[in-house]
């Protein structure tokens, strides 16, 4: 029980009348690398926002590190869904990454050298240290995504929650980001959301599929049940989709 970093029990949620999530129950073990897959509008991002305590469950319970999300969310490194909207904002790579240190310094206090050292270490690790003084708008999609991952890591999180980490990233950088996450998984639990079962599913340890309901598979296999639940036409997905062979169970 204590090894579960996230526990979700009988969770219901709806924005309007129609439920977006229906009786969702699952838990994430410490050190897990979980991919939450499912179609657009299936409730993946909603589920992440519930885990972060940005939304309140209608029914059911969510515990993060054994506590309500609002109490511990500053220990979660969060990568929001990719958006182009804020690229003209006047901010440098360094300043974005430093934001992850915000709760360590009280109101009215500045970031310390320790914060800058930590961020330097992270930026170097992600290969974007040379861009530290670059305006965020002058970076490519893949670089910007790394900056936001750096911000999430600057939190020194116990859990990393990533919403579509490879969206807006050029395919050649996608594997790079996946490799980084694999490395990071040695130190922390990772939960990521993705709408395509692409490159990333080769790296994960377990998979959950969300389309209003949630199906969980601990060994990281995409079962037929998941595919049927998630997509209208499973045959189409298997023949055309970039599903790595390893994650598919044998067909009988």
């Amino acid at each position: 029980m204590s090894s579960n970093v996230i526990e979700v029990r009988n969770l219901w949620f709806s924005y309007e009348k129609e439920p977006v999530l229906e009786d969702v129950t699952f838990s994430v073990k410490k050190g897990d690398f979980l991919a939450i897959i499912g179609p657009n509008g299936g409730g993946k991002s909603t589920l992440l926002k519930l885990i972060l305590g940005l939304l309140k469950p209608e029914r059911g319970e969510i515990k993060v590190l054994g506590k309500p999300p609002q109490k511990v969310r500053h220990k979660i490194g969060y990568l929001p869904q990719y958006s182009f909207s804020n690229t003209s904002f006047p901010i440098t790579v360094m300043d974005v990454a430093l934001m992850g240190r915000l709760n360590r310094r009280g109101f009215g206090k500045r970031y310390t050298d320790e914060d800058r050292k930590k961020v330097e270490e992270i930026l170097k690790r992600l290969g974007i240290w040379e861009y530290r003084n670059t305006h965020i708008g002058n970076l490519s999609g893949g670089q910007r995504q790394r900056v936001l991952i750096a911000r999430a890591l600057a939190v020194e999180p116990e859990i990393l929650l990533l919403d579509e980490p490879t969206a807006g990233v050029d395919p050649e950088y996608e594997t790079g980001i996946c490799e980084i996450l694999k490395e990071l998984n040695k130190e922390m639990t990772i939960v990521l959301v993705t709408h395509d079962i692409g490159v990333i599913s080769r790296y994960v340890k377990s998979i959950a599929c969300v389309n209003r309901k949630l199906v969980f598979h601990e060994e990281g296999k995409i079962t037929e049940e998941m595919i049927k639940m998630a997509y209208e036409c499973p045959v189409d997905l298997i023949t055309h989709g970039p599903v790595p062979h390893r994650v598919l169970p044998e067909h009988k």
Partner: protein, 269 residues
Amino acid sequence: MMWSALHFEFMRNAVLAGIIISILCGIIGTLIVVNRLVFMTGGIAHSAYGGIGIAIYTGIPPVFGAAIFSLIASLIMGAVTLKDRQRADTVIGVLWAVGMAIGIIFVDLSSGYNVDLMGYLFGSILAVPKEEICLSAIFTAIVIAGVCISYKELLAMSYDEEFGIIIGAPVRLLYFLLLSFTAISVVLAMRMVGLILVIALISIPPYISENFVSSLSKMMFLSCLFGIFFTLSGLYLSYCFNISPGASIILVSGTAFFMSYIKKLWKKK
């Protein structure tokens, strides 16, 4: 010729008021632009007219009436934006119009037109009293201190509100504080360029500055400089050609805005 204008006391006051308000608008305006609150600020400015009408009717100083009324309007708009994001712009538009309507009716009900209403609508920088300049200076000092203290939290809120909430920045509190400070700034700037034109003074300098800087604090600083430049050149033009100072300031800013906009489009190609 340029310096001869400064022989008049009202001109010296106008220059002083212009500089102070430009600094205030440069700082608050930067936060308004990056938080995409320009439309809401327009609503706050216009609804202030309701406060002016009530103040004239009840005999209290119009500036206080406007300040209280726009403060209330800003808090209502803020609350609506959080509760009903989808239709927040509609509600702001309605408050905008209703505020003005209240103002018009109370002015109608007041006996005699001894107050220069045009001054509130289009500005009267040449007639700004000394006490109001003092008030603006004090308020500007408070704003500068506030921004210095909460800079990193303001930055987090403005850049990524959601992440700000998660990391523990008091985003809600800062949001309402920003709106209240906006309300007061709008009322103080209104004396200079009028409530109809104030939105330009608040949004144009930050918009232009954003193209040249890579940090929020530099954007604030540059906005102040642009604002001072626009205000003083507008004031000078109005003195030379004997035209309205408020409108001159806005036209100078507007010209700069379009030049910067065209340059930006050009660069994109």
